[in-house]
């Protein structure tokens, strides 16, 4: 499947089918730090992904001044 990552925006291929949790583990990303989005919908960690899916892992951590 195609996984879109940000900061900077790039794509990686991950073997599927797999669960969202498996993909996050493979990429060493903590679930608390991203939203997983497919076709504009949020996915839970337990969700099943097909090899043909395209998902975005959108980081939610923002930095900067306060």
């Amino acid at each position: 499947m195609k996984v879109i990552l940000r900061h900077p925006t790039r794509e990686v291929e991950i073997e599927g089918p797999a669960s969202v949790a498996t993909v996050l583990r493979q990429l060493e990303i903590l679930p608390e730090t991203v939203l997983v989005i497919r076709d504009g919908e949020l996915l839970l960690a337990s969700e099943h992904l097909e090899a043909t899916d395209v998902i975005e892992l959108r980081p939610v951590i923002s930095g900067g001044s306060s």
């Binding site: 949020l42 839970l44 939610v60 923002s62 930095g63 306060s66």
Partner: protein, 302 residues
């Protein structure tokens, strides 16, 4: 996994609440959390005029939407900081456009303050001249200009989009250094002062940043997803990464850390009574003769 409220298909799980929600009931949950924070800390009085600092990011736009749903009339102010590509200032331009689109689609009032036009410098220029970390000069400029905008517009309350992660990260950074003065000032409500500091409140304190991002996605709010290009090495991000590792092992750790501090320890660090006076250059409150922003301006544009 099913929505805790309606048993429909869940879109998001919040581990620290041990609950999952469908889009509709997550939205409802987020709105109620903000309402609860406003009540719990007595943030906003009846008929007070509210000004929200907006950046084009997930937090401030989600908050603007939530406050509007709760029936508050809130105006926004955006600071054009001149960040991004040297020629086009693209990061700031894109961020501003998200704010403008959000406001115009909802008929909300948005003021734009351009740092370069009004004060003669951008954040990259100020960072370069002073050799300070960009986030430091940016934070100083934001605090100054937002307070000034609130005073000039006759607003009673300055509303900020700091979320649970922001506040927990700030607390952790200050505790690790035992910056007792800063720890004493950490509270979701900073009262107005006679010398001209406008009351400042943080209604997102009960929502993690993953939840404000989810709120935007689920409610069709477009926001600046890219990170500020000047943020590299920022201490706050490092603190957040460590806190998220804790949270992964012990859901609720961030909330317990911050709210435990507010409940059990904040009063032990009460800020010492620093005397404020009017800046001799601009009239805004300061601890010295000339405020830090005027000194910064003088260094960048002598």
């Amino acid at each position: 996994m099913k929505c805790r409220v309606c048993r429909g298909k869940a879109a998001i799980k919040i581990r620290r609440h041990n609950a999952a929600f469908c889009p509709e009931h997550f939205t409802d949950h987020a709105v109620r959390q903000v309402e609860k924070a406003i009540k719990e800390f007595d943030m906003i009085g009846a008929d007070q005029r509210l000004l929200l600092g907006v950046s084009g990011g997930k937090d401030s736009l989600a908050l603007w939407d939530i406050l509007t749903r709760l029936g508050y009339a809130v105006d926004g102010v955006y600071l054009e900081l001149g960040i991004g590509d040297e020629e086009t200032h693209s990061y700031s331009d894109v961020s501003r456009r998200y704010c403008e689109t959000f406001a115009s689609e909802r008929g909300l009032k948005l003021e734009i303050v351009d740092l370069s036009t009004r004060y003669g410098f951008t954040i990259p220029e100020a960072a370069e001249v002073t050799r300070r970390v960009p986030c430091s000069v940016c934070g100083l400029s934001k605090r100054y200009i937002l307070n000034q905008a609130a005073r000039a517009g006759g607003y009673d309350v300055l509303v900020m989009g700091h979320n649970l992660d922001d506040e927990a990260a700030t607390l952790m950074a200050n505790v690790l250094q035992w910056n007792t003065e800063y720890i004493g000032r950490q509270h979701p409500v900073l009262p107005a002062t006679d010398e001209g500091l406008v009351r400042k409140v943080k209604p997102l304190i009960r929502l993690a940043e993953r939840e404000t991002a989810a709120y935007c996605v689920l409610n069709g709010i477009d926001y600046e997803v890219e990170e500020c290009p000047m943020v590299e090495g920022n201490t706050g991000i490092r603190m957040k990464e460590w806190l998220n590792e804790l949270e992964d092992r012990a859901p609720g750790a961030k909330h317990r850390f911050l709210f435990g501090f507010l409940e059990h320890a904040a009063d032990r660090f009460a800020a010492s009574g620093v005397e404020l006076a009017e800046c001799q250059t601009c009239g805004q409150p300061t601890t010295g003769d000339t405020c830090a922003f005027c000194r910064l301006q003088l260094r960048v544009k002598p």
